[in-house]
Amino acid sequence: MPSKKDEPETIYHHEGGNAPAHGRHDEEVLREADVSGYWRANLRLLAVLLSIWFFVSFVLSIFLVDALNNIPFFGFKLGFWWAQQGSIYVFIGLIFYYTYAMKRIEKAYGVDDED
């Protein structure tokens, strides 16, 4: 590793002041685990979840709201319900599902942060 003193131009100088709790070191993980497989799996999952996020918040709640408002839904018009209630519940579901699915992906590829 080059010493920081040799490169006065760069201020990249990480001291790990608030590093997360951990069991192993990065170099070890990067050497042993299937890091690129993990990252691809993460990106695939993100693509699916963000599509759902976009669909409920923009397609159902905004673009199609007039059409959906013709459908009654427990005393609401469906489009209005998505915009003021339904989307928010889906957002919560998306985050918790991501938390759960990422735990599994991390374990499968050996990069999880359990001690």
Binding site: H14, G16, L30, A33, W53, F80, Q84, S87, I88, F91
Partner: protein
């Protein structure tokens, strides 16, 4: 009169007790090191952090103003509900876990190291201070307003008291003190919001869950649901139907998108995810935060619809002499105005404005005993002016709820304003002591000295915020909404590309942030302050209002950052390793320790 005095005594009691609690927690959770001051030592439980994030996030605007805005805007108000919750999905999926793994203290820390550049760090500090100060001024004002309405102290004195309380727990406790006071403040504010909402939902529909009450039948034997009755009533009075959009689809889209991305890019929210122990905790904690936020955000549209219905029912076609007490109370505070255009002594409510501008009261009373106004009369049948901010605060009175509920709402409003102000002040002081002092100008200072600078910076930031609260520039209220557009157009793309695109370099990041911020800022300034006369959809770019222009600014930032990055050299090896590191949840970054 006895009731009023009793309510006031209860309000003093509730507010006093809650303040004592906040200060007690601050003394218990004093910060002893910079790590505790900046990120609570990185050891906050995800649920506690979720509550703290929710309190940090929900400001005086969420607590006091949002339901009122939705009550008047109907479907159009969805932009706030969607925007201010959907941003947490972006935060949890795209930013929080990686920034936690990065393992430093501030947002400019990330920008500065990822883009190996002091200039990038300083640009990030400027963006951060700009966004946070516009936001905090509104909070201090909110504190002052709650004090003046409920405790009959002067607004300025209210601001000073609020400053004093924040001073104690922010300067003493730093992030650690703020985190645990915010947990308490969340409990106070959500209780204060839910109690009247549940009472009113039972009153109007008989259903004790406001979220379901919004879709239930009105308990007046009309056989109509709340929303159907509201639609019919409003159309009768000449308004757009409640569930109908009145803004264009493109504008609603742009505003929602800007609010979502802006939420994910707000430094005082991001920094909360630096306080949990692990990367997986950052994801989990964002989920809890959204649950705690959603409790209020799914209740607000119900409160909004009930309030509008209640307001029309009790006010429209009612003789002024028989108008309920709250109508006259808020009139005496200048937030309701009535001009008897047809001289029949009866209040008529309809679409359109009653008179031009904000009410300007004269000293004498009118024929029915109302406060006379000097404003020029507007065309149309409407005779009533009502400030949107009164709805949440007046709801307990409108629904005839007991005095302790009114006292609770006052304590809740203060909790919402103080918790957000404290979070904002902390990121401002951290940016000054850590990013400017320690990392830019005086790298030789010790941890103890840095902590002292952080406390001085927090104290100074509180004074500046208080000054803005006492002398609000006329544009503060308008500018708060724009903080989101600015955050969306500046910080969000730089952070996102820093994580997901290894090739992104400092030239691209700086060019992107500067152009996104400058474009958005100039667009807003042009339409809001330079030529307000042109502020109509005919003149807007793509038909997007200044509120939504952050979306365009963000796209501009992405495009310029991408192009400039490709035209300049790749980032150094070391930085590409850093990106590899932050992408994996496990491990500590021992490779870069010295």
């Amino acid at each position: 009169m006895d009731d009023l005095i009793e309510t006031q005594n209860l309000t003093y009691l509730f507010v006093g007790l809650s303040f004592a609690l906040y200060i007690g927690i601050a003394i218990w959770a004093r910060a002893g090191s910079t790590s505790e001051f900046y990120v609570a030592g990185g050891g906050v439980h995800p649920i506690a952090n979720g509550m703290a994030t929710a309190a940090d996030w929900m400001s005086a605007a969420s607590f006091i103003s949002m339901a009122g805005i939705i009550a008047f805007a109907g479907y159009d108000g969805s932009v706030y509900l969607l925007g201010w919750t959907g941003g947490y999905v972006l935060l949890a999926l795209l930013l929080a876990p990686y920034l936690r793994k990065f393992g430093q203290f501030t947002v400019p820390d990330f920008i500065g190291e990822r883009y190996y550049s002091r200039v990038a760090r300083i640009v990030a500090v400027v963006c951060l201070i700009f966004v946070s100060f516009t936001y905090v001024a509104g909070q201090m004002r909110g504190v002052g307003i709650v004090f003046s309405r409920f405790l009959e102290v002067d607004i300025d004195l209210g601001v000073l008291i609020g400053m004093g309380v924040v001073f104690v727990y922010a300067v003493l406790g730093g992030m650690k003190g703020i985190t645990y006071t915010q947990v308490a403040q969340y409990c106070v504010l959500i209780f204060a919001y839910m109690v009247p909402a549940i009472f009113i939902s039972i009153l109007i529909t008989g259903v004790p869950v406001p979220q379901l009450g919004l879709g239930a039948m009105v308990a007046d034997g009309s056989g109509l649901s709340v929303l159907a009755k509201l639609d019919a009533t409003l159309v009768d009075l000449g308004f757009t139907a409640y569930t109908q959009a009145s803004k264009t689809t493109i504008d609603i889209f742009a505003i929602t998108f800007a609010l979502m991305v802006g939420t994910a890019g707000l430094p005082h929210v991001i920094v909360r995810f630096f306080t949990v122990p692990k990367v997986s905790d950052a994801r989990l904690s964002a989920g809890y935060a959204l649950i705690f936020i959603a409790l209020l955000y799914t209740t607000a549209p119900a409160v909004a619809a009930f309030a509008r219905l209640n307001f029309i029912d009790t006010v429209h076609n009612t003789a002024y002499a028989e108008a309920p007490g709250w109508f006259k109370n808020w009139e005496s505070l200048g937030l309701i105005g009535w001009r008897d255009k047809n001289n029949d002594g009866v209040i008529q409510y309809a679409a359109g404005s009653a008179f031009q501008g904000k009410p300007a009261f004269e000293n004498d009373a009118g024929a029915s005993g109302e406060r006379m106004l000097s404003n020029a009369t507007s065309e149309g049948a409407n005779e009533v002016y009502a400030d949107r901010d009164i709805f949440v605060l007046a709801n307990p009175e409108i629904a005839n709820l007991p005095g302790w509920v009114i006292a609770l709402v006052a304590a809740g409003g203060l909790a919402a304003a103080l918790s957000t102000a404290a979070g904002l002040l902390l990121v401002i002081s951290t940016a000054i002591s850590h990013d400017l002092m320690k990392k830019t100008f005086r790298s030789d200072i010790s941890d103890k000295q840095e902590l002292l600078y952080a406390r001085i910076a927090a104290a100074a930031a509180i004074c500046v915020a208080g000054w803005f609260g006492i002398n609000p520039p006329g544009f503060v209220a308008q500018v708060v909404a724009f903080a989101f557009g600015l955050a969306a157009a500046s910080l969000f793309p730089a952070i996102l590309m820093g994580i997901f695109w290894k090739r992104m370099n400092k030239e691209g990041a700086i060019a992107g942030m500067v152009s996104g911020l400058a474009f958005t800022f100039l667009y807003i300034v042009f339409f809001k302050f330079v030529s307000p006369g042109l502020n109509t959809s005919d003149h807007w770019l793509f038909g997007i209002s200044p509120e939504g222009i952050g979306t365009v600014g963000m796209v501009l930032n992405f495009v310029i950052a991408y192009g400039v990055s490709l035209m300049t050299s790749a980032p150094p090896e070391e930085v590409q390793d850093l990106v590899d590191d932050i992408r994996i949840p496990s491990g500590a970054r021992v490779a870069h320790q010295h």
